[in-house]
Amino acid sequence: MEFLSYLISGISLGSVYAIIALGYTMVYGIAKMLNFAHGDIIMIGGYVSFCAMFYLGLPNIVAVLLAVIVCTVLGVVIERLAYKPLRSAPSLAVLITAIGVSYFLQNSALLIWKAAARVYPPVVEGSMQLFGGKLTVSYVSLLTIAACVVIMIGLTTFVNKSKMGKAMRACSEDKAAAQLMGINVNATISATFAIGSALAAIAGVLLCSFNTSLMPTTGSMPGIKAFTAAVFGGIGSIPGAFLGGLLLGIIEAMAKAYISTNLANSIVFAVLIVVLLVKPAGLLGKSVTEKV
């Protein structure tokens, strides 16, 4: 029973990583850049929902929607101002800029909301007793897992079936050819940032609900772990991000439970290194073979 409870906590933690990793992987797949500010969008999502609930007294669901809207706009604006001018610059310049944006967001949050951690009450409270009270599952866990599955199915359908989603795949593969088809590449990249940032906002609310705390650096570590999850699953691959996120969460929960809380992060990253040694493209990463 103990094992089951660790597993559930691992899956729900992994679901949060997966939602963040989906944003990372979509932006990477289409813009071919690592948006290191992605984790900080999560934190902004947390603060916006927090303020909406406590200072404005809005219902939780409205607060979450507000966080999604603010983060979506923020993501698109960041792309326009910071990344778009660097479209043809070397990737190192874009990477450094993304790190700069990350610090900018963290320090802006520090200025606005101060360094002290806030107590963030879960968006849904309470828990469910199973097996005659032997197993307790919080509603936040259930909500997180459900959100992750819905997002995963929604995104997969969107990318494979819709015209816009297919255009995104076309841009991800070959931007010049996509332009020759009449696809507006800049608009497609903006749309990708919008989707990624909206997912980050949702992840922010769920993450803060889990940790029940919030501070300006809240997004950093989960951001890095989700990035790891995306690489683990095969960066650029949507099912890969999902799988990578879940596995990472489970490994972390199990390491904490059975090995050592202090070593948990080291173990997570050690597993990543081993996976990349064996499968350099990640678990579901594609190595495209081109026939001539």
Binding site: R169, E173, L180, M181, G182, K291
Partner: protein, 236 residues
């Protein structure tokens, strides 16, 4: 038979390299016009400038009387220009049918199905492979897919960049047969080729491009008979 494309005194640079140095030519409705020349003569640069992927420093591209200056590449298709890029550039990870659908990106959804049916009729091979990932097609099939994809936008002018590149002789012949068929069906074609022999045999008119300049022009037959062209491009 009006003029459909007019290129005037085009100058294109890659950084400080002056790749196209004052090229002018025109294409009339219903014609097959070819630009031939050696590797590096600037043929693809001219096509990519017409498509809006590159921007000229001087000169203009006029399509159906409209100057395309400042029109972004993704808007050019809507004007009725489609390019089959050099090296085919089909979307390798997408299915044949999804590739065709991308070709019709600017078309209303209701016409896509009929467009795909037309392409399958012209290229039955693609119909057999409709659910296959484009990366698994042979070179010749990928070229057909790239051409079918471009036709999906119902172009008034189809631009083909080195359609025979890297293909076995029998496939080269097939591709040129398709060009003849398209021509017979009334499609206006601008063809860029290194394979001068094949290109001149299908072309109504031709231009020879050398290091960024047009050095010769005439009908396909005239150039085929010209000593200079025979020496330089037709192996004697």
């Amino acid at each position: 038979m009006g003029q459909i494309l007019q290129v005037n005194d085009l100058h294109v640079y890659y950084g400080s390299i002056h790749a196209v140095k004052g090229v002018s030519f025109e294409v009339n409705e219903g014609e097959v016009v070819t630009l031939i020349g050696a590797n590096g003569a600037g043929k693809s640069t001219v096509l990519n400038t017409v498509s809006g992927l590159l921007h000229p420093k001087h000169g203009s591209v006029v399509f159906e009387g409209k100057d395309l200056k400042g029109v972004p590449a993704h808007k050019i298709v809507e004007h009725g220009l489609a390019q089959v890029p050099e090296g085919r550039h089909v979307f390798l990870q997408m299915t044949v049918e999804d590739n065709l659908e991308m070709g019709a990106y600017t078309q209303p959804n209701s016409t896509i199905e009929a467009g795909i049916a037309d392409v399958y009729e012209r290229f039955p091979r693609l119909k057999e492979r409709r659910k296959q990932i484009a990366g698994t097609l042979s070179g010749g099939e990928q070229q057909m897919l790239a051409m079918g994809r471009a036709l999906m936008s119902k172009p008034k002018l189809l631009m083909l960049d080195e359609p025979s590149m890297g293909l076995a002789p029998i496939l080269v012949e097939q591709i040129f047969d398709i060009i003849r068929e398209l021509h017979a069906a009334g499609t206006t074609i601008l063809l860029v080729e290194q394979n001068a022999q094949a290109a001149l045999s299908v072309a109504d008119r031709a231009y020879v491009l050398e290091t960024g300049r047009i050095t010769l022009s005439g009908t396909g037959k005239e150039l085929m008979a010209s000593d200079a062209v025979r020496k330089a491009y037709l192996g004697g």
